[in-house]
């Protein structure tokens, strides 16, 4: 147990300890709770930055102990994992800030922030997991820690949503469990190794491996909201805005997508998965989801629902990238993991701002919001442009790499999917922008909250603008060192050239 493993533990512990302490705090200790939360988030971010620097220099970070014979608990920071950790810890900081502002004077804040931190801890655990078992461990923990967040409002509707969320995720988790166990029986402890560890198996096992892959992808696809396993996601929109933001941008859907990446790259190995013929169907499933999500989003009037269907569509970009055999497609998928997170969290923050400040939940009520809340609206615009894939937003970078990657992999039809999806994205985002900026509101706003100097409370505005700026910068400065694109390239260079 040296420093390099302790720091991994510390990354996990920052949010775990924060969560435990917050649970124990009385409801009224607002300042203390906020301080702990923020301190933990900042500390975690610093630690993660430290590790990122270390991973960049090829330092090994590993923490390992035995759970049962033949099954280890492994935390390991590799390039892919630390990318996801970086995203989570960065967005955790912003979401915490946002949530503090959003939930001001709301009940049950101790519970909320406790589970919130727990949720981040599980996300970090998922990212750092070094084998399938550890991954599974945190994957299920994530399910459990997000349930209280989904039902936080305690209304009948949110409880129903929570129930459906559970149906899906627990069912998916059980499937994943079976896949993992079956794989464990076949080959023993399945550590994540670049290039995968299964290619040496006896060819008579291939049908079995395909079945296991299917089970795991379905299990993970539930969280990644892969069609037709997506129904929980729009329903989970009843949760408070920070939760939606976190669920959509970082924690849950990304955990599913990240898991699929792990399975494809580090368990099966992309070449082996390709030779088994698994990637094509995955790409088809992802494409169907992309189009389906967009088509459904088109018809939603509820802003958050529209964003939710958009998420369903966008997360499948990641899976699409993963299923493209070739380094460029991989880069596209991985980089979209970050980009989508930044953009979508911005959009949800904005939706939350509109709802909190103006009491507006529907697209049709947004007329003229740009005049009342210019900064939020600018952020929303940036996010929406990113989603459509308009340069120089981050979404364009992903789309470009996905497109080139699809051509490289010989799947030209994917290009069509990308274009149609962009058009659909434009079709459901641009009308919102039009309403925000170019229509006037006839009636005065019924303002929900007392705001300070700005158009909305500073705690709501700052994170929104920050994530929007990040989403812009991720695209604009994609060529810089340590940009998401740069990091994805590092991952791919390590993944494809072991």
């Amino acid at each position: 147990m040296d420093w390099n493993s302790l720091i991994l533990f510390a990354v996990l512990a920052t949010s775990l300890v924060a969560s435990a302490v917050i649970f124990l705090l009385a409801e009224s200790r607002v300042t203390l709770r906020s301080t702990i939360n923020l301190a933990a988030a900042v500390l975690k971010l610093l630690l993660v930055l430290w590790i990122i620097w270390g991973v960049y220099q090829n330092i090994e970070y590993e923490l390992r102990f035995t759970i049962i014979d033949g099954v280890d608990f492994i935390l390991r920071a590799d390039a892919l994992g630390i990318m996801f950790v970086g995203l989570s810890s960065l967005l955790w900081l912003f979401t915490t800030l946002y949530a503090i502002g959003y939930l001001e004077k709301a009940p049950n804040r101790s519970r909320f922030f406790g589970f919130f931190s727990l949720c981040v801890a599980s996300t970090v655990g998922i990212a750092l997991a070094g084998n399938l078992f550890t991954f599974l461990l945190f994957y299920e923990l994530l399910t459990l820690s997000t349930y209280p967040l989904v039902v936080h409002r305690g209304t009948r509707e949110s409880l129903r949503a929570g129930q459906i969320y559970l149906y899906y995720t627990l069912g998916g988790g059980a499937l994943l469990l079976f896949g993992v166990v079956a794989l464990h029986v076949l080959v023993g402890d399945t550590e994540f190794i670049p290039g995968g560890s299964l290619s040496g198996l006896d060819p008579t096992l291939y049908p079995l491996l395909i079945g296991i892959f299917l089970m795991m992808v379905i299990g993970l696809g539930v969280k990644a909201a892969l069609f037709p396993l997506h129904a929980w996601l729009p329903m989970a929109m009843v949760a408070p805005a920070p939760v939606s933001a976190l669920l959509h941008a970082v924690a849950v859907v990304k955990a599913g997508a990240f898991g699929i990446a792990r399975v494809v790259y580090d368990v099966y190995g992309i070449e082996f998965a390709f030779s088994l013929g698994l990637l094509g169907p995955l790409a088809v499933a992802a494409s169907i989801t992309i189009l389906y999500g967009s088509l459904r989003a088109l018809a939603q009037d509820d802003l958050k629902k529209r964003l939710a269907f958009s998420t369903i569509s966008q997360v499948s970009y990641i899976i699409l990238g993963i299923s493209l055999f070739g380094p460029i497609g991989t880069i596209g998928g991985l980089v979209h993991l970050l980009h989508q997170g930044l953009m979508k969290i911005t959009l949800f923050f904005c939706a939350g701002n509109y709802a909190e400040t103006l009491g507006v939940h529907k697209v049709s009520e947004l007329d003229g919001a740009g005049q009342r809340m210019p900064a939020t609206s600018v952020a929303f615009t940036l996010g929406a442009f990113g989603m459509i894939g308009i340069p120089p937003m981050a979404g364009f970078i992903s789309k470009w790499y996905l497109g080139i990657g699809a051509l490289e992999a010989g799947m030209n039809w994917v290009l069509g999917v990308l274009i149609v999806s962009s058009l659909l994205n434009a079709a459901y985002f641009l009308p919102i922008l039009y309403r925000i900026w170019f229509r006037r509101r006839e009636r005065p706003w019924c303002e929900g909250k007392v705001v300070g100097r700005f158009e909305t409370p500073a705690l709501l505005l700052i994170p929104t603008l920050a994530t929007a700026a990040f989403a812009l910068a991720a695209g604009l400065f994609a060529g810089m060192p340590f940009s998401p694109l740069y990091w994805a390239q590092i991952i791919v260079s390590r993944e494809y050239l072991p």
């Binding site: 499937l175 129904a231 340069p391 120089p392 900026w437 060529g479």
Partner: protein, 580 residues
């Protein structure tokens, strides 16, 4: 121009308007920024005049790694763009009224300008495409600036076409980039060769041709132009018609493999569409009842001529150098003249104390356009130059010179119609006289800017024989004569602006017509239209809701399907396990 100074100059050319737009974000600086905004294109103008082609700046941190630089062609484009934007900016500054949404306008203006300049300066695909998109989407805000129903409709049409265009361009660029050596960091200069050698050559060319064609007023994709020009503020219209339409042309020029062998088919297509645009633009244009619309169709018509030149180039690669020069010259000439004409509309609306001077000024660009001024002479001369070198083209298409001459008749008629309409409009606005500076700048440039061409190394072809001079003059005379006759005898057809659009959406168009026939006024028809639109939307939403209910029911109820899936899977795995 080398080293640090060059780097700074290039960066400033594109970055200065961007920086201004960012500074606008600071509320206290806004008044200052809006004072500086008209001059935002000045650095670019200077670079275009004093910059040297071949110098590049690598911005590895930007996007995938961007590269800025100038080529002889882009230098001309940069000049005309910067000049038009500056002039339009001056015009806007002197004609600004209180109560405009000046602030939003200001920042969108700067962003559009950034995009327009950036796409000219960009040497790599990513930055080019980024700038192009920035221009497209920012311009939307400028077009709908008035906020009127018509402006919003124009904006909608513009945006839909813009998005489709962007997508087409993206397809083309992606496929083309894939064919280059470095698909992740493609340079524009590599594209033509890559496209010519690509297995998807025709697909790429089609997407790029259509994609840029949206901007360049390609027939059947053109209908955003008249709508946008007519409804946007005058300086915006000038920029749109002068500069941004040329961005589409530039897109063609830098991406299409114009000089490659074996593109005769494409040559025919471009020639055909170009000629069609030329005549159709003229025919539809003369029916219009507003000067802006006439000018818009004139632009479509003129771009058709350029398209003819492109087609000729493709048809016969040997024409390359001559056609390149011709296109550049024609682009410069047409852009400046059209810009001047549009600004002239703005000037003419105001009261003036010097009507004679005004009309003389207004006449200059029009005369240039029909070919009676130095710039027009040079442009027409260059364009008709293929007779000397392109024998095979003339063999294949001997009627071409005649058709070009007839096109000039159309241009003349359009100009005549323009002045006729402008005369009716003049001084209608009670506003105090605005500044003439911007307009005068462009007017002057439209006549004399061609003399700058040798400075950039572009050699046009002056019509050097009497025959060719006559060939330029007689269509003008014929056109004027026709106009005089027509203005006495003929009534214009009521072809609505955005002609084909109406045909494309026959139902609403018919509804409007039927409404008119029954005496229902425009607003009522529009209300009806909106009602239908709302019904369609509602139906879609209802269908979606039902589908959502159905699908969610299917997938959600106790997640029963999951279980079935699981059981099937487990069973199959078990069976497989036993089978082995």
């Amino acid at each position: 121009m080398t080293g640090a100074a060059g780097t700074v100059a290039l960066l400033l050319a594109g970055g200065w308007p961007l920086a201004l737009s960012l500074l606008w974000g600071v509320p206290s600086l806004r008044p200052r920024v809006s004072r500086l905004a008209p001059w935002a294109a000045l650095p670019a103008l200077l670079v275009s005049l004093f910059g040297a082609p071949g110098f590049t700046v690598d911005l590895s941190w930007l996007l995938f790694g961007a590269r800025l630089g100038l080529t002889p062609t882009t230098q001309v484009f940069l000049f005309l763009t910067a000049l038009i934007w500056t002039a339009a900016g001056i015009h806007w500054r002197t004609h600004r009224r209180d109560g405009d949404h000046c602030e939003r306008f200001c920042v969108l203006w700067l962003l559009t300008l950034t995009g327009n300049l950036g796409l000219i300066l960009a040497l790599d695909v990513a930055l080019f495409y980024t700038s192009f998109a920035l221009m497209t989407f920012s311009a939307y805000g400028l077009i709908v600036h008035n906020g009127s129903e018509a402006a919003r409709r124009a904006g909608r049409v513009y945006l839909v076409l813009g998005v489709i265009g962007e997508s087409l361009i993206l397809i083309g660029l992606l496929l083309a980039a894939r064919a280059t050596e470095a698909p992740l960091l493609p340079m524009l200069a590599d594209l033509p060769d890559a496209i010519a050698g690509s297995e998807h050559r025709d697909l790429i060319m089609a997407s790029l041709w259509l994609g840029f064609g949206v901007k360049a007023g390609l027939p059947l994709l053109h209908f955003s132009l008249p709508l946008a020009y007519a409804e946007s503020p005058v300086p915006v219209a000038a920029a749109l018609a002068g500069a941004m339409i040329k961005a589409g042309l530039l897109g063609w020029l830098v991406t299409l493999p114009l000089g490659a062998a074996g593109l005769q088919g494409w040559g025919w297509i471009l020639l055909g569409t170009g000629l069609f645009a030329t005549f159709a633009g003229a025919l539809v244009g003369v029916q219009q009842s507003r000067p802006q619309l006439v000018l818009a169709y004139s632009s479509i018509s003129q771009m058709g001529l350029i398209s003819v030149a492109l087609g000729a180039w493709m048809f016969e690669p040997a024409l390359g150098p001559a056609m390149a020069a011709a296109i550049t010259v024609y682009a410069l000439h047409h852009a400046l003249a059209k810009g001047a004409l549009f600004l002239g509309i703005g000037v003419a609306h105001h009261r003036t104390r010097m009507p004679v001077m005004l009309w003389i000024g207004l006449a200059f660009p029009a005369l240039a356009l029909v070919g009676l001024m130095p710039s027009g002479l040079l442009a027409k001369g260059s364009l008709k130059n293929f007779a000397a070198t392109g024998a095979s083209l003339l063999d294949a298409f001997p009627q071409l010179p005649t058709l070009l001459a007839l096109a000039a008749v159309g241009t003349s008629v359009l100009m005549a119609r323009h002045f006729w309409l402008l005369r009716l409009d003049t001084g209608r606005d009670a506003a105090p006289p605005g500044g003439w500076h911007g307009w005068m700048l462009l007017t002057g440039a439209s006549v004399f800017a061609v003399f700058l061409l040798p400075w950039w190394g572009v050699e046009g072809h002056w019509p050097d024989t009497v025959k060719s001079l006559f060939g330029i003059v007689w269509p003008v005379l014929l056109g004027v004569a026709l106009s005089v006759v027509a203005s006495r005898r003929l009534q214009p057809w009521p072809i609505p602006p955005g002609d084909v659009l109406v045909l494309l959406t026959p139902l609403p168009g018919l509804a409007v017509r039927a409404g008119r026939a029954l005496g229902v006024t425009g607003p009522a028809a529009r209300r009806l239209l909106r009602h239908w639109q709302a019904r369609a939307l509602a139906r879609y939403m209802r269908a979606d809701h039902r589908f959502g209910r159905f699908s969610e029911h299917l997938w959600r109820r106790d997640a029963s399907l999951l279980f079935v899936l699981l059981l099937a899977l487990v069973a199959s795995i078990g069976a497989l396990g036993f089978a082995r």
